[in-house]
Subunit: 334 residues, 2 copies
């Protein structure tokens, strides 16, 4: 189980436009040794998320970008192998920003324990970053309340599917937008959106008008671009647009401006961006609620699992292409 | 003084792009008679404001547009000539949405008395709509607090000049953007902005960087377009962008989208549109404060007065061209 080799997926070149597998390289290094206060973790699962694309370019963003040769930034859950922090013991399952690699060393304070009794990879999605993103984006940024009409883009994705279900729990009317028959089926049957719109079917504007005859109160936006441009004119007075992601723009060499701020005057509306990490002080409020909703079946999820660390780039590219259903994950080790 | 003729400026044709004088016509009608509960008002001053441009087109907006032949929508202050509402007596000075005309009939409830002891036209700007727009836009939408760096576009205009001064009173560092030497002089000497940027001088981005070395916390935006595109990348984390107007777009046949919502994620920022009329329930809080600041000299203003109702279209076109300094007003009658 333990090995002397640490396989690492690093950034070989900066993607131009859509990432290619050749932008990544798999190398082998020695398993690192934990220093004082540090913990050695063996990865079980690593995550694949749209935000990683931003770290690969040199554009100004909210976090420092990767240098060429760096291990790709990623959340992971793993098992403690060796610990110089009294809070952790070998065998503990922990969550951290450990990267696409077999082994990582981290300071104890940068890790969180995954409670026993839950499947560990849930800490990478519905009970972790994507679930928390949905929770705070919908309720705190979007201020969704009972009776609101809530539209979610990328609604079959890891964040969108949870945002839509929290909106349903909160008494909202929910409309999901996704692409393709499989995802539309998930929206209707698995996540129980009130209305599902296939953007690949065209006529998004017409479908939105039919799905939201009384307008849109909250738009939980994961994609930006043309899909969002179809939603904006349907806003109600006082509407809130939570900007969670703009995945349609992440691979554009030069993103296109698509928004007319004037609309915000017409609708006295608010558009607000957020990062889940800014809510870290409130995770303790949200995680037990998400766990309760998952346990009761009020929140359902789907995982698209890729086996093998070496396939992480492929899983990442597929996710950017929309090939995953639900949360994209890479299983590194049992 | 009273006459039998009511001169009215009406919409003769819908402006295509920039309005022309030929889009308006001056006609004469009989002075209307007030019905039960109504008041006949003789205009003293009529207002000229950017929002009027929106009423002249057929685009969806927050208020019903004008039909051809309608008297142009405008706020006015005037003197009560005849009253069938016991709250008003002949000689009272009142404010209302009376249009570009010599006489108007209004329901008593649609008028507000201008208190004696203030110059009546102030109710059309610093103690009225433009002052209130600045007050609520800066403090309620922009949430400006002491220590914030506040940037104002169209800063020498009727709203911008007051927004900048309220920001100064609130303990903010203030940066105004305007065009041309005369306006820049007003920003520095009359309105006492900490920094003044001439967008006609080019290099707005460079000037902003020098003026806001620690970034921008609040952007009070009256213009949109290229000037705003230069401000957006200077936002600080947690910044607020209050969308008051987008005058650069009002005459565009097809407005250009100029905003990248992705920036709001990078800066966890908020962009929010507003209409001063949504704050009507709080005017009673703001007007006495504005009046006190005007009386103490903490807020200063400038008026650009055009004489004669027949010249209202010309004053309006000049205002859209940025020819006015401070509040553009038309003096109808003494």
């Amino acid at each position: 189980m333990a090995s002397n080799v640490n396989r690492r997926v690093t950034l070989a070149s900066r993607p131009v436009g859509f990432p290619q597998e050749s932008d990544f390289s798999l190398d082998e290094a020695e398993v690192p040794s934990p220093g004082p206060g540090e913990v050695l973790v063996r990865s079980l699962w690593v995550s694949v998320d749209p935000y990683q694309r931003g770290r690969m370019s040199t554009q100004r963003s909210y976090a420092k970008g990767l240098e060429l040769g760096d291990v790709v930034t990623a959340q992971a859950v793993g098992e403690v192998v060796e610990s110089n922090d009294p809070r952790y013991a070998p065998g503990d399952v922990v969550l951290g920003q450990l990267g696409w690699q077999d082994y990582a060393v981290a300071r104890g304070g940068a890790l969180r324990k995954v409670p026993p009794g839950i499947e560990p990879q849930l800490a990478l999605h519905v009970l972790g970053q994507t679930g928390l993103t949905a929770y705070f984006g919908l309720l705190d940024v979007g201020k969704a309340v009972a009776g609101d009409a809530v539209v979610v883009s990328a609604a079959a994705g890891a964040v969108g599917s949870i945002a839509g279900q929290i909106a349903r729990i909160a008494g909202c009317r929910t409309v999901g937008i996704a692409g393709g028959a499989d995802k539309l089926e998930d929206l209707r049957d698995l996540y129980r959106f009130d209305e599902a719109i296939d953007y690949k079917g065209g006529y998004v504007r017409t479908a939105l008008k039919a799905a939201c005859p009384e307008g849109v109160d909250v738009y939980f936006d994961n994609v930006g671009g043309e899909i969002s441009a179809a939603v904006h004119p349907r806003m109600n007075v006082g509407a809130r647009i939570a900007i969670c992601g703009q995945v349609s723009q992440y691979n554009a060499e030069r993103p296109e401006p698509t928004f007319y701020p004037q609309l915000l005057i017409v609708y006295r509306a608010r558009m607000q961006g957020f990062l889940v990490t800014d809510y870290a002080h409130r995770f303790g409020e949200a995680i037990p609620r998400l766990a309760r909703w998952v346990a009761s079946g009020e929140i359902r999820y789907r995982e698209t699992v890729t086996e093998g660390l070496e396939n992480a780039p492929c899983a990442f590219i597929g996710m950017l292409n929309g090939e995953n259903r639900g949360k994209a994950l890479v299983k590194v080790s049992a």
